[in-house]
Symmetry: D3
Subunit: 338 residues, 6 copies
């Protein structure tokens, strides 16, 4: 794996006492010199609730700013959950990459970076690097579990799903999948990620933290169905971990264990244009079927390019914006895991 250890002193200031019992609503103060405020910081809301013994769980949304369901549900939890309903310690950050969340964009308006390509971070880097460094150097060493909730963002729409990595350590793989199945989204998708060297999930793996993530909507909107899956899934997962009482969790919901078998499951746009998808989320599709077409409105007399699936399975996600650029994924297929 690519990630080196993060050792330098963090530049982030947080006055939370992580050992204190009770509920603390505070902020992370991440230094950010602006032209009109040289000593300015970005304040990222963090709520810590501790009550007796139990696991420490970092529950966060907003690693990408345009993924909304979890930001809303986690902020709600931070507002409403009381210490008496907790066992152990819950570290709650509704919108981790705060400047991106305020901007409604995946990438930071400050340094243009994708926080989920910056782990384990660098104390001497730009904003996203400094923030990633704080998480890996200060927060994760306290944690047993990380639930880092994502959605499809602007570019994709997903069947509501949880995700985790295929792990070599069978016991941890099982513990992780059990957490995903407890969450209760329609799919729990286990993946061998391409280009995952710098993600929060990889960072967790290297530090022995059990980690699941999710895809719970997309298309740059708040999805009502995704909101149900997110609110209920968080409650079920925390109950499964014993951090909140089991009685507070909604009834279990059946979840299928899926995977993305190989690279052929990704369909890419070979050219830029306007993409018309032919299928809906969850549809069963077969290798060689037409997935959609790229239209050239600037040249109406040019034939559209039809894109075909490279594998059979179920349609996990589809392109959620009209325009595509060459190389953009437009569909990903999943199939049952073993």
């Amino acid at each position: 794996m690519n990630q080196p250890a993060a050792t330098a002193k963090s530049r982030v200031i947080c006055t939370v006492d992580f050992e204190r019992e009770g509920k603390q609503a505070d902020v992370l103060r991440v230094p950010h010199s602006r032209n009109d405020s040289g000593w300015g910081v970005v304040q990222i809301p963090i709520t810590v609730i501790r009550n007796g013994d139990g696991p420490t769980v970092l529950l966060n949304g907003g690693v990408h700013g345009d993924e909304y369901e979890s930001q809303i549900a986690i902020a709600e939890l931070a507002r409403t959950l009381q210490p008496k309903d907790v066992r152990g310690r819950l570290i709650v950050v509704p919108a981790l990459h705060f400047p991106a969340a305020m901007n409604g964009s995946r990438l930071s308006p400050i340094d243009g970076k994708d926080l989920n390509r910056c782990f384990p971070g660098r104390a001497e880097g730009t904003f996203a690097d400094v923030l990633a460094h704080y998480v890996s150097a200060v927060l994760l060493p306290m944690c047993d579990v990380n639930i880092d909730l994502h959605s499809g963002g602007r570019g994709m729409d997903f069947v509501p799903s949880t995700t985790s990595h295929v792990l070599d350590d069978a016991a941890r793989f099982e513990r992780t999948n059990a957490l995903g199945l407890a969450f209760g989204a329609p799919y729990h998708v286990v993946i061998k990620e391409v280009d995952a060297g710098y993600t929060l999930m990889t960072c967790c793996e290297q530090r022995g933290v059990v980690a699941i993530s999710s895809e719970l909507g997309g298309g740059n909107r708040v999805n009502p169905g995704g909101m149900v899956a997110t609110r209920q899934g968080i409650a079920r997962a925390l109950a499964h971990l014993g951090v909140v009482p089991a009685r507070t969790a909604p009834a279990p919901s059946p979840t299928r264990l899926m995977t993305v078998p190989d690279y052929d499951c990704y369909a890419f746009a070979p050219r830029g244009g306007l993409y018309e998808p032919y299928h809906g989320l969850g549809d069963a599709v077969a290798k060689g079927d037409a997935a959609g077409a790229i239209h050239f409105v600037d040249d109406p007399h040019r034939e559209p390019i039809v894109i075909r699936y490279g594998a059979s399975g179920e349609l996990w996600c589809v392109r959620a914006q009209g325009h595509v650029q060459a190389g953009d994924p437009v569909a990903v297929i999943v199939a049952p895991y073993r």
Copy 2:
């Protein structure tokens, strides 16, 4: 009405001979000095098909660049329709506000204008003004009918619908509604538009051109259901007008005649934040029901603001992006017309 007559000479060059029989695929050349091409133009594809006697219909998409269904379907028609299948004259422009369409945005990347607030245009104005002026001064005087197809764009998702204005002239109102009903979308919505003084539809009215528009999807994506409604609706409407043979049209589809009774049908966001809608398109809702909530992720401990409907009816459209700003409409209600 606000619109003055457009009389100055157009700056747009088009070598189409609008009187010629047959099919001509050409471009409108709209002057656009760039820093690296002082004599540059923007080329907007236009296809004209003429065959014998019959009405002249201007069929266009892309007045807003982020409304895709009609751009695709109209480009398809321009590519495939042959003179032998036409009676009269069809002027086809798949992406009228071409720079916006290439940019995938409602507004022009050139002058920041909404083309549908620029009619009847000005020959000495900026790009959008010059283009609007060409349409009103050169194209519309040749036309009997304008079918100007829209979708919800980035900000809204709609029940697929056609639209037209409530007109004082009863005969023209009836002819217009008949065209909308022939199109066959689920709703044909007749409206007394707020702030309509500078739209293409108002420009058509003042020149005696029968005009319908539409809302056929939204959310900055290509909607598969919207594509069906668009492709079939165009074919039915052209057949209804006698411009293409009736046998080529799909079977009729039932359409309900609806309206937006008054200003209370619009629900607005009183503050900016993250909007969670509570209902889906077409849902029956009642005055006073909660329409959705505005969440404040930057301040998780602040209560969300619940927005309520100001009228009863069916949900015509909902906000299709997560973030809202103060004053953004988040829902519009329709009710049966008379």
Copy 3:
């Protein structure tokens, strides 16, 4: 004068009933299509308080977004003033050019315009034109008096002052000066403005509305002394007009009637560079004195350019930012009127 009459129908929506007794807190809804909200508007807070007979006064701040004292004081008044304390009608708009005020800039982030160069406005223009048009076509016809409060903005720092135009109509000139003297800032400066053809004050003059303005601070900050002058001045001016009871006004404060005798009173930077002023606000200075120097930090071995005053008098305002560009005013001199 240059300003034509504004006659077209306004595009701004306001649900205030200006004839109703009592206090209404509402917004002006100015149409502003955004890429992510095609039917979006900008909501500008407006508060109208009416109680029986008396003059109608439009009291507004924020024609320039970076002039803060009046925005704060007028918002405070809108929040706290009750109908029982009013005689006549008070139309209160704390931040008229609202997008500029939210941006903390003189010019609009929407169309780059200075609202005070857009009067009387145009219904078919860009945002600032549409807003100016509403003021001149809808609000001013209801008004007897306009108090439009300004500060020095980013570029200038001022001796706290009220201002008005030198008027041909002696009676109105006297009424206007009496209002300025009642306000009680250190100076009331009467000017024959250069380039005033498109200001709100000129627009008032042409419509017979008594109008004063002000300069109450500057340098892009909130000035504590300016706050005192602003809060007290508003109270005194409204009491002078009989709109609020005289007993609520602070004690009168002596005000000197000044003017800018001619164009030589303006000192300009002949070249761009870093400006060092040699005097403070209100200092007595003489024609030919060194006003300051332009330094060339990019070329330390080049001699600074010393700028000299072109007239004798008191220093009304000085440049409040380090960098200047060629043509920027760096100082303006006032002298007693007559």
Copy 4:
């Protein structure tokens, strides 16, 4: 013609006394509110030299900011020419669209406009409109002749040429051509311009001012050959007009009278890409010859598009930047006039 009369009062301040004998080096002060200087202006250098009786000539460069030869040569003239060497009045503006000239761009960095599409201007418009209005309303009424020198700018390279319009008035056409021939560039090209309704030259025609322009280089660079043609041409033209003594002019240089016979002389890029020209300036080319090719480096396996000339003649100008967009002219052919 499209241009209405410009009648409103100019907003530009200039302290030159145009009636005074001698040399005055001054500036035009064009109002330009900036966020950091609300009363800021743009200072445009202007030099006026008057000595006794004789014609008034407005000699200017920099209508487009990226056309350099004339800016340099005219600034040189402003610096060195003395009243004793003048007969009549010379109004010299080296860089008329000053913000564009400082930016090295055709269009203004202030309002994005091409000054040569803004005549006769509007006092209530944006910066370029206000400037054009000053020229048409204040300067041109004083002038007998306008020499407005251009080059190819960023986009084009030209055979050094003067240009003028084909005029209906035979006497003025002859006087104009005589001035062009006196200038002594290789070509004097008389044109019926496409899209010329808002240029300075058209504005001169409508006011009875004899007007020539030029194309003296291009490619966003200072061309040594173009500098010779410019310096000598100005001297010959002023001598021809009697404004400077004939003895100061260089020896005459042979000039051919050319024209652009019709629209087929323009070769356009049908698609965007990388343009490779096949001929050099002044080459004799024939209709149907390959003019160049558009290459698609993003798709190396796609065949280039070869563009062919639509007319025979000499190559007046060629595209001077690698990238082209659809609709950009890449070559223009001239042929002898009559």
Copy 5:
């Protein structure tokens, strides 16, 4: 401490011979590829004056581009000081972060970085990293003392002060304080800086260079009082070090030794809005006093938030811009040191 050693070869070119006697006015040439000048550099003026034996002092301003007093005074010194008046070696850089200084901004317009968060720099980094690396790897190893003069920049206004770090090494702490006291500003403030791992001062400490800095004005303007303090302070400090003759220094001025006792001395804005300060620089304030208020002009009916001081002492600096963002410091309190 966080800063590693800088060892790679510098990419900066400087033709100064630092060993040569006399005065050399030269530039640092820092590579900066631009799109229009691939081999372009940024030239940063540097003046080196050497005369016989004595300490080497690096005197610089402009680490932040919007801090002007020192840029002006140091450029003046570079222009006027002669070798005969020097003992030892003076390395004078009026505007170290030159692109920021030309831009009048704290951060670089090139890479958006704050130079004072980039030390000790990296030869393979972006512009600010490369520049910091040159200072730490080439200049500092020659130096005994660094006087790096700052002001409050855009965001803050300060009581004119010098500053230095609280050092573990008592002898060096004393030498440093003696230099600060010699400078003669009203305060010499010794601080344990938050987030100081990457500053020039920390870099000096690690290399054994005696280092003081300052805060000599602010608010993005040139402060006349700050200019006096700066000009006199430099002269006194250089005389104290023996680099210039004592007779050339102004009379000593009393300086109080102050400190920022702890983190409670900082008052922060909890929300964004318009900040009204209640006190002036140097005022004595008490813990719990209202420091100022945040006003919400977008919602005039919302109560302002009053911010209170967290410690008693004197007001060292206040917010110098109207708008604040959440987390911005608005006031800092100092108290006597020991």
Copy 6:
């Protein structure tokens, strides 16, 4: 040398089988998260042709996006060359820094970096770093030779030339020069580069790869003469290496071996302004001759600054844009090597 070894795992995906015989046209997929496509990549066309034994040559253009001749010629080769005409392996990348090439700019529109200052790259860096890392870690270890073709870009015009470094290893220096001479441009220039620590050529040297580069035109245009030199030079060089048959190469062309003897051969602009060059490419010039002048159009009465050559020789390149900034090179002189 500065460059460390690149060892981390590349993030670039390429499905080419470099060991396979025949021709493969594929793309490099470089990860590039966009706001509207989180899993987006940039697709860079690569063609690999392998046929039996022989050297491996990486032939690429477009390290700078505004250098066009080689992009066109190399794309042509990728399109037309067949395996039967190859001996060994040819890795062909017409536009290596693809985002810059599509943008027509030297620097990347993604991260603003010059790819040729990023070698050997970093897998965890920004886009250009990741791309450079792939070249150095994956491609170069397969290569014997790199031919990396450049032109003058926007800023410079060059006598068509090949270039290489002066090498300590005499045998490799000779092999490199032989390759340059075989290419057959007018000059082969051997240089000791300033600021070459992070270039592709230095990276090749450190890995034992024979490397030549070139300067084959400039001025942001496609130069017809440069196209001839490029097409023929590539054919001759590949034939010289035995990768294509000798019979396919054009006749040899005489090449002179030149060098840039020292730093005095560079003439720089001491101030920004408008640069007028006095000589043409290849002209013989002498130390002390005037090279050109910087004109100040903003101040026509200021004397131009004349720049003089610091060495005698032939003019290798001249500034190809009108505006210069302080520190820009405007001319470089070459002289025969030994």
